[in-house]
Symmetry: C2
Subunit: 447 residues, 2 copies
């Protein structure tokens, strides 16, 4: 194995990432709320020695459930049930900083980290959608406000994780001292958005901090990632764009006193796998034929903020007005894609159906491995966010056929390096911000 190791995350979404997956004979749409489905996927990912599984999330019913098998389970709750049947796989949950309280989020991730023995990760999102705002009694907050709140939210959460030093639990039965309260600290946070006293009521997570993951690619998002994220999921259509993004993001780290290897960049890839190129193309074609244009148009409206009718399907994408809120980077990606390849709206829907703007690659396992290797060795990726078009079938195919190819090429592990998600991602365990305080002062304060 080379010194640098590829990292692979399995992005689990219902019965597959392709929007027509639920209509394909190789899926069973009733399984979107079946815990055994997700447990099977997590075990498969672990069998393939993948680093982690990841669950996206939103706080409103996603458009349009009429035509897609959406509306699954809440990620943190589900991942705890996956922790119980796995030993190594990392467990990454999406949780919003806009509609939550930091105390709850700190506690739930600390709990998941304890339950999983150090395998929890948090994909930090700021919830751009209007429908989400309306489930919490507010209007959609401005982009900058969401990021300002996220910044402070993260400071409170990491402070709460640090509030118990690693050696706070003493367990001295004879002396009657369970915890050294001099090593458990109120955080006394007082900021623009939050006032939180602490300490947390759960001891320090095994990883110190559960892994911090981020996926926004706006300017605010990239700066947030450069300051805090340890893994970044990103949608990139071409090698050149991916390399530019990678270079840009890695270049920002030193300004925040961080090394380039303290953040992993994982572009999305939806692999449509066949034992021959023909078989892969046939599967792609089968899926394309199951697309429901009305659904695609709803999705497109979410991505670019413009609602088109079915009469627009066979014309080029019309001009799209500039919007300042919401998922700006994804909007740009979609418009660039349509313009670059001169696509009709129908063709654009087909290109987006596989991964909502993430890259789709159809081919043999060797071909998929070639693409992964090219991006990994060419400075465009530290690994990939794998988005199988069909679940569980597409993840089985990836683990059984692409992973062995990557292992043969020396690009991917054959055994886990460590026990925790951080260890497998090759990331350090953070010290508590309170650990520097001299123990004697702590003991005095406790009396």
């Amino acid at each position: 194995m080379t010194a640098r190791t590829l990292h692979l995350n399995a992005f689990l979404m219902g019965v597959g990432h392709h929007e027509a997956a639920w209509r394909h004979p190789r899926t069973e749409p009733s399984r979107v709320t079946d815990v055994r489905h997700y447990q099977q996927l997590a075990r498969t990912a672990e069998r393939g020695r993948l680093d982690s599984v990841f669950l996206a999330d939103g706080l409103a019913l996603w458009n349009n459930v009429r035509h897609n098998a959406l509306a699954g389970l809440e990620p943190l709750t589900l991942l705890a049930a996956l922790a119980a049947v796995t030993d190594h796989i990392g467990l990454i949950a999406t949780v919003s900083t806009t509609y939550n309280e930091p105390f709850h989020v700190a506690r739930k991730f600390a709990s998941l980290d304890h339950i999983s023995g150090g395998r929890a990760g948090w994909n930090i999102v700021t919830s751009a959608g209007e429908a989400e705002a309306h489930n919490f009694g507010v209007e959609r907050p401005a982009h900058a406000d969401r990021y300002s709140r996220a910044e402070e939210f993260l400071d409170v959460v990491t402070g709460l994780w640090d509030s118990w030093e690693d050696d706070a639990v003493v367990g001295d039965r004879a002396g009657g001292v369970y915890a050294d309260t001099g090593r458990i600290h109120p955080i006394e946070h007082l900021g623009r958005h939050f006032r939180v006293r602490g300490p947390l009521n759960t001891s320090r997570p095994p990883q110190g901090h559960p892994l911090l993951v981020q996926a926004g690619s706006s300017e605010d998002g990239k700066e947030f990632a450069a300051r805090h994220a340890e893994a970044v999921f990103t949608a990139q259509q071409t090698f050149a764009e991916a390399r530019d993004f990678y270079t840009d993001l890695k270049g920002r780290l030193s300004r925040h006193g961080r090394r380039a290897d303290e953040l992993l960049v994982l572009p999305g890839i939806s692999p449509i796998i066949g034992s021959t190129e023909r078989e892969a193309r046939d599967l792609a074609q089968e899926l394309e034929e199951l697309i429901i244009p009305a659904y695609g148009l709803t999705q497109l409206a979410t991505l670019i903020g413009v609602e088109l009718g079915e009469d627009a399907l066979d014309r080029p994408l019309p001009d799209v007005p500039v919007e300042t809120e919401g998922a700006q980077s994804r909007r740009k990606l979609v418009i660039d894609l349509a313009r670059r390849d001169n696509l009709t709206v129908r063709q654009l829907l087909g290109r987006l159906a596989g991964g909502r703007g993430h890259r789709v690659v159809a081919g043999t396992p060797e071909r998929i491995a070639d693409e992964i290797q090219e991006w990994f060795t060419g400075g465009a990726a530290d690994g990939f966010n794998v988005m199988p078009p069909l679940l569980p079938a597409g993840l089985d195919d990836f683990v059984d056929h692409v992973v062995p190819e990557l292992q043969i090429r020396g690009l991917f592990r054959t055994e886990y390096e460590g026990r925790t998600l951080r260890e497998n991602y090759g990331l350090a365990r953070p010290a508590s911000r309170f650990a520097a305080a001299p123990a004697v002062a702590g003991l005095v304060a406790a009396s």
Copy 2:
């Protein structure tokens, strides 16, 4: 078996309910954050055919972690990990209505209910503590405000659970219709505390509504229970008090259009079990000798709102000023106990150490079964909230020795009646509030 069946819940708390449990040689205090400990307890409860396990919770570090093995895991996260290793046992989590958003709570319980196949229950609390308020940037809300918010919170949550009718998921692959959106309803809630549009982004829970549990015994608490609760946990020291409470609460139901058997009353019992009376007394004595008076005084301050020093230990409980906020009913219980039995503060601490005001019974399995039978057949209880002094040992003893005695007497099941928590508690599955709407109107609305 008699027509009326006893219901038993195992209240899981760290390494035991006795405050000195962590110092006893039969426990291992490091297990308070070990998921395998709780999984073992849940399996034991299931082996004993108990109805459910229950986790209490607070949103601040409980006093005083210096002298007790507290600070465990967040209940919903933990219960999902227990669901994964059990098949029948109900899973009841405490979640506050004061420091949460109803959308999150509805979604997490719906998810746990899906994950467990219909075994989720929600112990609704309103978080009286000042330390909790300070973790959420507010001052302690007044008692009446907490209950007014709880009332509206519950209406939103049940509305969200109802927002998908039972038959909303169609799964028509050929026709391209996954869900009949005419059977998925925005709730458009607009109230004093909340504005929530809905619908939920998780389909209807298997139980319709996860079981609603409540434990407040104040006037507001009893009225809330009479309107909404399906099971009530309560602290009662004597048979007469328990029968009065039972009669009072059951008598309130008809005013809300409910039958007496639509709510189960489960007083707490901490059984200190020995194979002889002498052995049980010895265990009680061992535990009493491990009590740390400084810890007991902190607990007493929490219960009655008055801080006493160690110099007060061997004198009677002084007069306690009337307080209007916080856990009023528990305060009255503690003061009554001290006055009735003419206890010194030290003796009072000993009586409270086993269950914080819940009843402690030391004796043989037959003696424990006698007490349970007397209260159950005498109109004081529908079952019990079992609080073992030591965990796991005390739950093993209860399941291996008390449960068979109850089964022999025909008081308790030998096999589960059903698959869901509601079925085992003998409670009906609620219909969706939207189900009355004619399907045709729904279909028109969806177009």
